[in-house]
């Protein structure tokens, strides 16, 4: 049984465009166009897609904020938008762009208030607070008002706020937006730990490096439709983008010395720099090519470039 089940989910927005002084045009935009997917308990899912693909809409439906126009969504035993109050007791949500904390109060006060709202028992609250302080490095900022925190500090505090009631699943809508590398690393490290502790994590982000280092699975959404779902490693091996091998030969290397490479590989040779570029379609060809090159030529520099996740996804988007 899957933890999250989304079946035939639809959501349309009506947009009014001004065409004249009083006239306006009605246009229906399909934000989610019959999407289906499932997520297992304990998964770390990366949910990506270009701006306007429908990512936020999906998160809003799954967190009970929004009711879909058709289809259904189920998380655990709940239909989020129907059993809102009972359902949200078990989820944590972080919106990278909006704060959930009391701006003028110290972080600890927000935690206490949320503890009250979620009815966390005193003992459990204390334990959870200690554990979060430890993992998110919160001790130094716990007694500072939220408005005084830096973006990185605030995001850590924000994650703590979303986890204070120890939910089973965490929804994150671009949590690392605008963070520096160190802060990002701290956040990512925390998320990995949570996931290893058995929490299900649903992450949307534009940062593909985050996705690559954090998630096992990935869902790609484009124009309201799911265009890829599966393991990230799989995506890389499925791509049609070539692997690029670059080799530096001694200067003034005569071109005709390369002639028997020509029989097996499509290559280009930059004579001025004596640089050889060969495009391979499969990873297993790399070793063979390297053997040939090193045996037969005096190779001074050698580089293999696999297509980056950015390039692969850019190709999928278009």
């Amino acid at each position: 049984m899957s933890y999250i089940t989304v079946k035939n989910l639809q959501k349309n927005y009506t947009i009014y465009e001004k065409t004249g002084r009083l006239k306006r045009n009605k246009r229906i935009v399909k934000a989610l166009n019959h999407i289906d997917f499932t997520v297992e308990e304990g998964a770390f899912l990366g949910y990506i897609g270009p701006n306007g693909a429908g990512k936020s809409t999906t998160i809003k439906v799954l967190t009970g904020i929004m009711t879909p126009d058709g289809g259904e969504a189920k998380v655990g035993d709940y239909v989020p938008y129907k059993d809102r109050k009972a359902y949200v007791q078990n989820i944590g949500v972080v919106f990278g762009q909006k704060t959930q904390m009391w701006w003028d109060l110290p972080v600890i006060d927000t935690y206490r208030l949320l503890g009250g709202i979620y009815k966390v028992p005193q003992k459990k609250f204390k334990h959870q607070l200690e554990s979060l302080c430890d993992r998110l490095d919160l001790d130094e900022i716990l007694h500072q008002p939220v408005r005084q925190l830096s973006l990185g500090q605030r995001m850590r505090a924000e994650l703590g706020a979303a986890m204070i009631h120890d939910p089973k699943i965490l929804f994150l809508d671009e949590p690392t937006i605008g963070l520096d590398i160190i802060s990002k690393q701290k956040v990512n490290h925390f998320l990995t730990e949570l996931n290893q502790g058995g929490k299900t994590i649903f992450l949307t982000t534009h940062d593909l490096k985050d996705i690559e280092s954090l998630c096992e699975e990935m869902l790609i959404l484009s124009h309201g439709e799911i265009i890829y779902k599966g393991a990230i490693a799989q995506l890389k091996s499925n791509t049609e983008l070539p692997i690029l091998v670059t080799a530096q030969l001694p200067l003034e290397q005569p071109l005709d010395a390369l002639h028997h490479l020509k029989e097996r590989y499509a290559f280009s040779f930059d004579q001025a720099r004596s640089q050889l570029e060969i495009q391979l379609t499969e990873k297993k060809q790399v070793a063979e090519l390297a053997r040939t090159l090193f045996q037969e030529y005096d190779i001074q520099d050698f580089r293999v470039d696999e297509p980056s996740i950015e390039e692969i996804i850019k190709k999928i988007y278009t």
Binding site: T14, M66, K98, Y118
Partner: protein
């Protein structure tokens, strides 16, 4: 009630972070509103009465309406600023918590600075009531009902008007016209207004049901004791409509986003 306590404490703490501003604001509010009452008092002292209503009676009407309005401004400030909650998208964060959305929206901030309003209404009320002569001795037992009804009525009207933001986005002017203007109008007896406006204040924004009608009987200007039921009727009709509109608004929000 638990939620109320939690959010009440949060707001109190938030505001005491700026203690000086807090004190200045309470005094400022008190003085500002007191000036309003002085204007009515000046006019009345000159004319002795408005269409049969004495200054003392009008002071009582004024204190009833302002007391409820003041309490609403203290505990319902979140409703007063409801449009910002919708426009900034922060309304989303209320929906992801296991608590009443209306309660959370209302108690976004508890505006203790508006205690000045309540204090001022209380003072005017004490002064008016210490001199008023009621036609019926049981009027005193009935009075708490009116003050309570005023709080409920003010809250209901503010919820009803705040809900319009679900459709219009910005609704500041709707609130100013629908609540602030009518509340000021309700500080005077209904007879000074045109028939049409009297109907509006009785059936649409029913402020007269908590001031004018019951006092008409209590002060002996009318013999219809049924007027004492007016506040109950007003609330009984307005409450389900208000809650219906609020629920409809939430439904709309959840189907359109913003």
């Amino acid at each position: 009630m638990r939620l109320f306590k939690i959010l009440f404490i949060a707001s109190l703490k938030s505001q005491t972070q700026y203690a000086f501003d807090f004190v200045v604001n309470v005094i400022g509010n008190f003085l500002g509103v007191f000036a309003d009452f002085l204007i009515i008092a000046m006019i009345l002292i000159r004319f002795q009465n408005i269409q049969g209503w004495t200054l003392i009676e009008i002071a009582v009407i004024y204190s009833i309406i302002e007391f409820g309005f003041g309490v609403y401004r203290v505990i319902g400030d979140g409703l007063n600023n409801f449009e910002t909650l919708i426009l900034s998208g922060r309304f989303d964060t209320l929906l992801i918590r296991p608590a009443s959305v209306l309660g959370q929206a209302m108690l976004q901030t508890v505006d203790f600075k508006k205690i000045g309003l309540v204090l001022q209404a209380t003072l005017v009320g004490v002064w008016g009531l210490s001199q008023i002569e009621f036609a019926h001795s049981y009027a005193w037992a009935y009075l708490p009902t009116l003050y309570l009804a005023s709080i409920v009525m003010n809250l209901l009207i503010s919820i009803l008007l705040a809900s319009t933001a679900f459709w219009t986005g910005k609704n500041e002017d709707i609130v100013i016209l629908g609540h602030y203007a009518t509340r000021t109008a309700a500080q005077y007896p209904a007879t000074i207004y045109h028939k049409f406006f009297q109907s509006v204040m009785t059936f649409v924004i029913p402020f007269f049901t908590i001031t004018y009608y019951p006092l008409l009987f209590l002060t002996g200007k009318s013999q219809h004791s049924l007027y004492l039921l007016a506040p109950w009727l007003g609330i009984a009709i307005l409450a389900p409509i208000t809650m219906g509109v609020w629920k409809l608004g939430i439904k709309r929000y959840s189907s359109t986003g913003t």
